[in-house]
């Protein structure tokens, strides 16, 4: 923060001297104080992506290269065509900084913001997902406090607006102790025409500009610049930046907006988020190639005496800006009146390509509409951190515990155990679309009423893997989240991501970002997955200890299932059926739960990703689906394949006989084999008469697959073929540990 003098005023900004000079030069005059404030916000990291843009260019152009992508990065949300005249909009965003300070309202307004982004695309928000990160939970009142209120904030806001939370994930790791991550994702569904009719642009001169929703207050001025800084002592004083959400008003805004779009008179639509009115108006006109003239006195404020600066930069929640055809003004206003939503016509668009804001006769803002979007780029240095070599060379100690004890400990660990404590608090059924509900499968599955199509959605990342190898880690995240989609029977269609990293001005932190982006770009190009949007949250760095969070590029994938019969579920179904393991198990324990839970070790050799292998596995699984051969499917994730098998036993109270002699090849240690987190593996259930057909097919297309056992009705997992290390575990005991872990930690 530094001070800049404008006329008689001094203002705190994050702009650099160079930037201020550049602004003066382009305008050929001194900017007004409001203009400086606008530049400050719009050129902040959060809005301008000044550090990240050079890297994000590595992503393939989704709109150009994929015919079903209707809107790619740069829009409020990615939009894809899913056939039958329907489109899906989806996006993910971070609300880390506000949630670290005020978990309840921080998380709630995060949900509020992501809903608005989807609504902007003209479609109805139908689902939410919530990937979260906190410091470890056990004996840690701070983490427990954060988890409790973040979840309550998401629940209260999502439940009240009637949007089901259909999935999410959580990681607990000490690197998030002072910088928790609260990412939120939303999916919208609508007709393609509705999306086309309401772009977030003002293309036509002469249209009315209407502000609708909550009143404008002094709260949250400078929220954006706040998110573009690290959390320091200073943040205490930034506290007014924490917003109070109002889900009830949001619900009315959703209904009023969708009804207004249906009238056909809405020509543009934009939510007011970071940077408030100034950001929304300049994007509407700048991207649309128009200008506008705005009367600031028409903006309805919560308190009297607010100055132009405060009005233009306020980030008060629950507001939308509409661009409306002149002939439709009354019709649209009548919709707002029905919902008793406050509104005001604040100006009109014109063809001047200049955004002009007036207070009586004085101009407050007079900026070329494009000026704000042409932010400078910040060149950042990158450097591989020194500590990595040491970490990567760490060896797995010799086990002192029995394999059985280890499995019990793993299943109860914070990162593996059931997250029911969280998702029970979310209404995951409102909207009557949820077919596979939270906790019942690898991904959430929603029906599209009126068709025989189903949407599958999942989010996630493995921060421990990314910490050791951001390039392969980011790829591994994609493999895992796509695996969740595939396991439910769906085909992955498109991806959005949310990059959570440290301070980009620190070369080591920027190195993580750079490599993660490269990993995502390479993988998606190879496996033909369009990247249709993203969000970057930098400065997740602890100022005191000078450590960044573990690199966390969260991936969100949506997929499609054609036909109810093609939905695949996770639980084992039938005793006597065979259990197959798809994919190769390598000695890859770096960043595993096994290392962290049993030895408190962070290092080792993390999983690598071979795209060609992954591709043939996915094709293979799809082929088995086509032949109707898979009865249950679950991808393998944290803790290794035994954990996946246990999770598949729970629902129908079944067990498994595992004979591992034909897969365990003794070149690796038993623990390396059992608890490896090699990515891209699946456990599938098949009828035993079909096993041969499946193994033959796999051989033909060179996919690693092993029959590892069969399902039994006795709720035990009996493991044999491990020399003298055979053991047997009790499914009920496992389930108890799995279910009770978080409730036991949370309820003091």
């Amino acid at each position: 923060m530094r001070k800049v003098k404008v006329g008689n005023n001094e203002i705190d900004v994050d702009l650099t001297d160079k930037e201020v000079t550049y602004i003066k030069d382009t305008l050929e005059r001194d900017p007004t104080i409001t203009e400086i404030g606008m530049f400050d916000v719009m050129w902040s990291e959060h809005c301008s992506y000044k550090s990240s843009r050079p890297k994000l260019r590595l992503f393939e152009d989704a709109e150009k290269n994929y015919n079903y992508v209707l809107a790619g990065p740069g829009q409020d949300a990615g939009v894809i065509d899913i056939g039958d005249g329907y489109c899906l909009a989806f996006r993910i965003e971070s609300h880390n900084h506000p949630s670290a300070i005020e978990p309840y309202h921080g998380a709630a307004t995060g949900i509020g913001g992501i809903i608005r982004d989807i609504l902007c695309m003209g479609v109805r928000p139908i689902a939410l997902l919530d990937p979260l990160r906190f410091g470890s939970l056990k004996n840690n009142p701070h983490s427990q406090w954060l988890l409790k209120y973040v979840v309550k904030g998401i629940a209260d806001y999502g439940n009240c607006t009637g949007i089901p939370t259909i999935g999410g994930e959580v990681e607990f790791d000490k690197s998030f102790q002072n910088n928790c991550l609260v990412n939120v994702a939303c999916i919208g569904l609508g007709k393609i025409e509705d999306f086309k009719h309401a772009p977030s642009r003002a293309y036509n001169p002469g249209d009315y500009v209407i502000l609708m929703g909550g009143s404008t207050g002094k709260d949250g001025i400078h929220g954006v610049t706040f998110a573009s800084r690290t959390l320091t002592e200073e943040s205490e004083e930034d506290r007014p930046a924490v917003q109070i959400g109002d889900p009830f008003t949001k619900k009315l805004i959703i209904e009023a907006t969708l009804e207004a779009i249906k009238t056909g008179y809405v020509r543009g639509l934009k939510d007011l988020g970071g940077g408030g009115l100034s950001c929304a108006l300049s994007e509407l006109t700048g991207d649309g190639g128009t200008g506008a003239i705005i009367d600031i006195n028409k903006v309805f404020t919560r308190e009297p005496g607010m100055n132009s600066f405060e009005i233009m930069l306020s980030e008060s929640q629950e507001r939308m800006a509409f661009i409306v055809k002149p002939e439709g003004l009354e019709t649209v206003l009548n919709v707002f009146r029905k919902y008793e939503m406050a509104h005001a016509v604040i100006g009109r668009t014109d063809d001047s390509k200049v955004l002009k804001v007036y207070n009586e006769d004085d101009f407050v803002v007079k900026l070329p509409a494009k000026a704000l979007s042409e932010s400078p780029i910040a060149e950042r240095k990158e450097k591989q951190p020194k500590f990595l070599d040491t970490l990567l060379s760490q060896k797995t100690p010799n086990p002192t515990k029995s394999l059985k004890e280890i499995v019990y400990e793993l299943i109860a660990s914070e990162n593996i155990c059931s997250k029911e404590w969280i998702y029970r608090q979310y209404d995951h059924e409102v909207g009557i679309r949820s077919i596979i509900k939270c906790g019942d499968g690898d991904s959430g599955v929603l029906r599209i009423i009126g068709t025989d199509k189903f949407i599958s959605a999942s989010v996630g990342a493995n921060s421990k893997h990314c910490y050791l190898d951001p390039y392969n880690g980011a790829k591994g995240n994609l493999v895992e989240v796509c695996g969740n989609i595939l396991a439910s029977g769906a085909t992955p269609l498109a991806m959005v991501n949310c990059c959570n990293f440290g301070n980009p001005e620190i070369p080591e932190s920027y190195w993580y970002f750079s490599n993660a982006v490269k990993g995502m770009a390479d993988f998606c190009k190879k496996l033909r997955i369009p990247i249709v949007g993203g969000n970057v949250s930098f400065y997740n760095e602890d100022e005191v200890t000078k450590t960044a969070i573990k690199a966390t590029p969260i991936i969100m994938i949506v997929g499609l299932i054609e036909g109810e019969n093609n939905i695949i579920t996770l639980p084992f179904k039938q005793p006597g059926n065979d259990i197959l393991l798809v994919g190769e198990t390598l000695a890859e324990l770096g960043g595993s739960e096994y290392h962290s839970v049993i030895y408190n070790l962070e290092g080792g050799k993390p999983p690598r990703v071979d795209e060609d292998n992954i591709k043939s596995r996915w094709d293979f699984i799809q082929e088995l689906y086509k032949r109707n051969l898979i009865k249950a499917n679950h991808d393998i994730n944290k803790g290794g394949f035994l954990i996946s098998i246990a999770e598949m036993c729970f629902k129908n109270k079944l067990g498994a006989n595992l004979e591992l002699d034909n897969i365990y090849d003794k070149k690796v240690r038993i623990d390396e084999f059992l608890f490896s987190e090699s990515v891209g593996r699946f456990i599938i259930e098949v009828e035993s008469i079909t096993t041969k057909e499946i193994l033959d097919l796999a051989k033909k297309i060179k996919v690693d697959i092993y029959k590892i056992g069969s399902i039994i009705s006795d709720p035990k997992i009996n493991v044999s073929g491990l020399d003298d290390k055979n053991f047997s575990i009790d499914v009920f005991e496992l389930e108890k540990l799995y279910k009770n872990s978080i409730p036991n930690i949370m309820d003091i």
Partner: protein, 80 residues
């Protein structure tokens, strides 16, 4: 515990707009909402009672000082 005055109070606003004003109580100009706790405890005197309460509210994070104000409305002595 009430929300700080700079913060919005959607609960109170809705109560005022959709209930109180619509039902003709237009003499009401302003509403603020909050939570209330009545706590009985044993202490030396009023002052130390108040101190314990404040400490308790902070330790249990009964209110969040970032968005809320804590007000001790009344401390009374009860004989036992």
């Amino acid at each position: 515990m009430t929300l700080k005055s700079a913060a919005r109070d959607p609960v109170a606003d809705t109560i005022q707009r959709d209930l109180i004003a619509k039902k003709g109580f237009d003499m009401v100009s302003h509403v603020r909402s909050g939570q209330y706790l009545k706590i009985s405890l044993q202490a030396e005197d009023k002052d130390s009672a108040e101190q314990i309460i404040v400490r308790m509210c902070n330790i249990l994070r009964i209110y969040n000082p970032i968005t809320q104000n804590l007000n001790i409305l009344k401390v009374t002595e009860i004989d036992q």
